[in-house]
Amino acid sequence: MEKRSSLFHGLPFPTTPVLEPPSCCYSGWRENVDPQKIAFLLRKQWTLYSVTPMYKFSYGNLKEYSRLLSAFVAAEKQKGLAVEVGNDLGIKVTLSTLLGLKGTDQDQVAVLVQIASRSQLPFENAENKVVWSGWFCCISGDDLLESVPEDFTCLSLFLANGAESYTAIVGSWFQKTFDCYFSRLTISPLNLAWMAAMWTGCKVDSHMAATELVFSVPCIPQSLDISYAIHSEDAKALWDTVQKTPGEVTQEEVNLFMDCLYSHFHRHFKIHLSATRLVKVSTSIASAHCDGNIKVLD
């Protein structure tokens, strides 16, 4: 038997994809997506996870996965007895694809997982109530995709909404079945600043809520939170003066934008926000928290 030359090193594989500023993927989404289909994604708080590539995940088997996952969720939720796949379980899990939600064309198609509880009512047309949703998507993983063999599917971002217990169950099933790893994704203040800048610059048709930035100051006994709210038109006006090329955002522009906001605050309150930590950004388009929660409003 020929001896392998190198077992575990020399693999040019990148590590966990860092949450890149989602500028490109976001603008990509707005162009390709059917608004109705993804309406249910809006106005929900999503918790972010990063997922390693999944082994032997097949888009053709989504129905089978739904059945298995339904049984698994039912078994974990019930007490005692085992659960056979296929029986009437009281909950129903569906896996489906979400077309259009990808950064570039090479990205994998997004996958949506929904847990719906079977209605107890005897009506035939009683709708199942969705109690939990989660979706996987791939964010501009060109570099990653090049180096990963075919057996692996790169859906490196997972967003979950609903009870943590369901997230745990679904996540465990995926981990066991496809040998992947879920880890909570946190958003650094740098990335939050990017989001603030980009979202401010987006055009919003409907009513614009104020742009709010929350900063955290470590204090004893409890940390102090400073909330800085800006009229969104003013913020947009500021951003328009900063941004040079429409459609393109650079780090310098983001820094300048934030510095302007900081100096304005300082002028009024004599507090240097640049020394604090940005923890939450919320605009009329979306909001994001550094713990890895985002909410898209439009």
Binding site: H9, G10, F13, Y65, A82, E84, K176, Y181
Partner: protein, 715 residues
């Protein structure tokens, strides 16, 4: 039917109505559990028992004051052992139960205690559920207690739910039972009782049996539907956390701790996040992934053989017999606990295996690192265990993981040098060979920073781990020499020149930090030992003695390794000539020159008594006469020769004593001329073979005049 303790409670309330009676009853109950005393019965209320009550009260007060928890436990166990169904005193019962529970959760229970409590729990009275829930073993469970517990089940004294809880407990604690032969014989009973259920053969029971059939097909005789897929709720969670905590506390003296289950955290702490991967996944087959099942079935049709499920793999011979049809586990991380599977992946050239392991390990290391993410600080013990497992696996495979390497590069700059120190330094020794300039900013700089600012022991540990690193690189390269014959496979540029460059730079780095360390630690002998240990591993001449201050810090010169280096050079040259292949590696003539100068310097020290004289090498040991004067060492020139060298002076003294026993003054100058040769022979006889090799190879003596000749190398 009311649970038994409620019935007791009712009786208690009845008793309380009549306080006198209650007192009598209490008195006798106290006397009932006095150690070493037996009572006639629970209802005696005579003076004798009143006296006993007083005595018991005093005793119990002092007991409580001075006794250890062990005594409380013994009291509680004795109470339970003796307690018949007539002992219905809720308060005392609760007290003892609380004692047992708290001790069980802290330390676990001894086999004898478990025996008592199992019998109590299953004999149909008292608070069965609570007792069963706190049956955590400290070490092992005696098989006899399980057998007797099962016999209680046959009698049918306990309720169905208690039976069920007992079975769950048995499953959770199965691995703690010391012997299982008798238990295996009882399986017939278990299957009978399953069929006895009025519900009949339920689908979940069928599923359970089909799972069982996977492990022991010869024991399950009934036919079962083949492709049943079922999920079971994880039932051992009740006890899992407590088991692991106690096992860790008792330092793993349990003989049954073969599993590599790591803890789920302390019971008091917040619930552990669900995606923690410090719990190594169990080796289970991939049957749940329909993609893979379909592929396997397809292959079955062609090959007419089933794949061998990984749960049945227990021995090496099984591995060899089934190696062509072995399935991989569904989670690749589980191979870390299974040495047979490690053998298997060692042979298979499947990239997806490495990738899966790479992703899993990389994520686990990053997520669970205790200084990377501050939330993890309380789980340091588990992280240490995990790092130990990774290290053992690397030793087993004789190769380092690249995910581990990346983890080290990312975490070393943030490391405090204290947390998981020995584990981290051991992992450093398995960093794979690569270009040193890549390693330098990630490994050398943070390590150097920690090195200079830490204790002597840390410095020595780092030197040792760098020595191991060097050794691993050399070993690995030796293994690669076979593969080298196929020049198209060389993803790492692991040619001889690459190796030598990296090795040379590593040695240079170690030389630098060692020099500074010696200054910082004032030439501590302990440190010197480790430095010399490092230099013995490789075969380049030691530069240490050049850098060391002249005040006799150095105890020995590295004879043997310089000879080895020379041998390597010669061998390489010969290989080149013999094989007539154009190796990418070329020893430059500059290397030969350097080598020659080292040899000359060493010979000058040892032989010709011309230490520190002329040496044009930039790292040579020439020192100005002024400097030499400052050291106030007389006769510097011969202070390092074979007579006066600190390491050899002892031999010189012994030689003089043997040669001139009547001469009390030690006159080293007598050793010259003929006697120099005798002395040399004496040294050889004393076992200094390295010295012999060096002198014979590097020094060509012409009559009595010693000359130096830089080796026999045909440059």
């Amino acid at each position: 039917a009311l649970p038994s303790w409620e019935i007791e409670g009712m009786q208690q309330r009845e008793n309380a109505k009549n306080p006198k009676q209650a007192l009598q009853v209490r008195r006798s109950s106290l006397s009932a559990w006095q150690i070493g005393e037996r009572t006639a019965g629970p209802k005696t209320a005579d003076l004798k028992s009143a006296q006993k009550h007083e005595k018991g009260k005093q005793q119990s007060a002092s007991d409580r004051a001075g006794n250890s928890t062990q005594d409380h436990l013994e009291q509680a166990l004795t109470y339970f052992e003796r307690g018949k169904s007539s002992d219905n005193f809720n308060e005392v019962l609760q007290k003892h139960l609380a004692t047992v529970e708290s001790i069980a959760l802290q330390r676990g229970l001894s086999p004898e205690g478990l025996d008592v409590l199992l019998n109590v729990a299953l004999s149909g009275h008292l608070v069965n559920t609570r007792i069963l829930k706190c049956l955590i073993p400290a070490s092992v469970i005696a098989e006899s207690s399980v057998v007797s517990a099962v016999s209680w089940l046959c009698v049918g004294k306990c309720s169905g739910s208690t039976q069920l809880l007992f079975l769950r407990w048995l499953i959770a604690m199965f691995d703690f039972i010391d012997h299982k032969e008798k238990l295996h014989a009882l399986y017939g009973f278990f299957f009978c009782s399953l069929q006895d259920e009025k519900l009949g053969m339920q689908p979940h029971l069928q599923a359970l049996l089909s799972l069982y059939k996977l492990f022991c097909p010869e024991l399950v005789s009934i036919t079962l539907p083949a492709k049943m897929k079922t999920y079971f709720k994880n039932s051992e969670s009740l006890w899992k956390a407590a088991i692991n905590t106690i096992r860790r506390r008792n330092q793993g003296t349990s003989p049954t701790s073969q599993q590599l289950i790591l803890g789920t955290g302390h019971p008091q702490s917040r619930k552990r996040k669900w995606n923690t991967q410090l719990i190594l996944p169990a080796c289970s087959t991939d049957a749940n992934n329909p993609t893979r099942s379909k592929e396997i079935n397809h292959a079955d049709i062609l090959s007419h053989s089933e794949s061998f499920p990984v749960e049945q793999l227990h021995t090496f011979s099984q591995l060899l017999q089934n190696i062509h049809r072995l399935e991989f586990p569904s989670q690749m991380g589980s191979v870390l606990r299974n040495s047979l599977l490690l053998h298997y992946i060692n042979c298979i050239k499947d990239e997806s295996i490495y990738l899966r392991l790479y992703y899993w390990m990389g994520q686990t290391l990053q997520e669970e690192c205790t200084w990377y993410k501050l939330d993890n600080q309380q789980y340091e013990e588990e992280f240490k265990d995990f790092l130990d497992i990774v290290y053992k696996t690397e030793c087993f495979l004789q190769e380092g993981f690249s995910s581990c390497e990346e983890f080290l590069y990312k975490s070393l700059p943030l490391w405090d040098g204290f947390c998981c120190r020995s584990q981290i330094l051991r992992l450093v020794s398995w960093i794979p060979l690569s270009s040193f300039s890549e390693m330098k900013p990630h490994l050398c700089e943070p390590l150097a920073q920690l090195f200079f600012t830490s204790s002597l022991y840390f410095k020595c540990s780092v030197l040792e781990s760098l020595k191991e690193l060097l050794q691993n690189w050399l070993n690995w390269h030796v293994m690669q020499l076979d593969v080298e014959s196929d020049p198209k496979i060389s993803p790492l540029n692991t040619t001889l020149s690459g190796l030598v460059n990296s090795v040379a730079e590593l040695i240079h780095f170690v030389g630098w930090i060692a020099t500074v360390a010696l200054h910082l630690e004032n030439n501590a002998t302990f440190l010197l030992y480790f430095i010399l240990d490092f230099y013995e591993t490789h075969s380049c001449p030691s530069l240490v003695f050049i850098c060391v201050r002249i005040q006799r810090a150095l105890k020995s010169l590295p004879f043997v390794h310089s000879f080895r280096y020379r041998t390597n050079l010669v061998a390489a040259k010969e290989n080149e000539l013999i094989k007539k292949t154009i190796l990418q590696f070329k020893f430059s003539s500059q290397t030969y020159q350097e080598y020659n100068q080292y040899i000359m310097a060493m010979v000058g020290c040892l032989w010709t008594s011309s230490a520190f004289q002329k040496d044009i090498h930039p790292q040579g040991i020439r020192l100005d006469p002024e400097v030499l004067k400052k050291t106030r060492v007389q006769e510097v020139r011969n202070s390092f020769n074979i007579v006066h060298h600190p390491a050899l002076m002892g031999y010189a003294i012994l030689f003089l004593q043997q040669a001139w026993p009547e001469d009390k003054t030690l006159n080293f100058n007598l050793i010259k001329g003929r006697r120099w040769n005798w002395y040399l022979e004496y040294l050889y006889v004393q076992g200094l073979q390295g010295l012999k090799l060096f002198i014979e190879s590097s020094i060509n003596r012409v009559s009595q005049v010693s000359q130096t000749k830089s080796g026999n190398v045909q440059v």
